[in-house]
């Protein structure tokens, strides 16, 4: 088997299948459907929290809704029942937030954050950032013991992160990303003066 020497400035290209799935604009209609599914799920969840003004269930007035959720999940039941949270560090983190009354801030952050992630994905604006935000919230909800639709949304969120360059092509990212300097089309390296190449024993 031949050994391959790779210089530190070598760029390892993606295989053709990965390039087609995650970097090819022909896949944009597929990512549009994924974005709509994940985005509407977040928008529905976030909007539900924003419009909820119940004294014990609101998220954006004084955060009593998120506080009630935290108090429920940190409770340790009598054996043989298992606690909702599986990791002690996460239970300590939730307990810390309860004791320091962070429910007011986090209630607003969650409600408006979920809504923003949903709108970003639906309209295709900064899809990569929105998908990372959504996946991070999915991770936290699962650490808090809530399964529901979170595993599916987390998986689709990962895929949207991988396809961040093209997932928003049918959307605002088509115009936003070029403004930020992300090229939609590959830039050809000058062939006369190669600056990056894969060095193999045959080329030495």
């Amino acid at each position: 088997m031949k050994a391959t020497i790779v210089r530190k400035d070598t760029v390892i290209a993606d295989p053709p299948l990965a390039r087609f799935l995650f970097s090819d604009t022909r896949m944009a209609p597929v990512w549009l459907m994924v974005r709509l599914f994940v985005g509407f799920s977040w928008l529905d969840a976030g909007w539900h929290k924003i419009i909820d003004t119940g004294a014990k269930t609101n998220y954006i007035i004084d955060g009593q809704g998120i506080l009630a959720f935290w108090q429920r999940i940190v409770a340790i039941p009598a054996a043989p029942a298992k606690p909702v949270i599986g990791y002690d560090f996460y239970r300590s983190f939730i307990q810390f937030m309860i004791e320091n009354h962070w429910e007011g801030f986090f209630g607003k952050l969650i409600a408006f954050g979920e809504t923003a992630v949903g709108l970003g994905l639906i309209f295709g604006a900064f899809v990569g950032i929105a998908a990372v935000g959504g996946a991070f919230m999915n991770l936290n909800y699962m650490l808090a013991g809530t399964v529901s639709s979170n595993p599916v949304l987390l998986l689709l969120g990962f895929l949207l992160v991988l396809a961040w360059k093209t997932a928003g092509f049918i959307g605002f990212d088509r115009y936003l990303l070029p403004l930020l300097g992300t090229p939609w089309r590959g830039v050809e390296l000058p062939s006369a003066k190669p600056t990056r190449q894969l060095v193999t024993p045959a080329t030495l």
């Binding site: 604009t25 909007w47 092509f169």
Partner: protein, 100 residues
Amino acid sequence: MGIGILLTIVIVSLLAGMAVQLLGTRKSPYDFLIVGLTAAFAAYFASETFPGSSVFGTIKDFGPSIDGFYLIPGLAFGFIIATVAYTGTRDTYASDTATA
């Protein structure tokens, strides 16, 4: 939603896609697929999720339904998303116009 109406949505969407393929000015081999798939997905998605969601909580009546398929949100959203997908890919699948 019943399986019968779901199959109907898929078939009607693909027929709409084929109509676009035949009548549209852009000649690419994938127009029927883009329009058909996105219209079918959007119609199914809107009918299944819009009624009962907090986003459309103020709407109490979503109009007539056939076997669980709400016609107005389904057809409207299917048309909108298929149009957006078709328009958004107008450059992506453009035929090679280079001549010798």
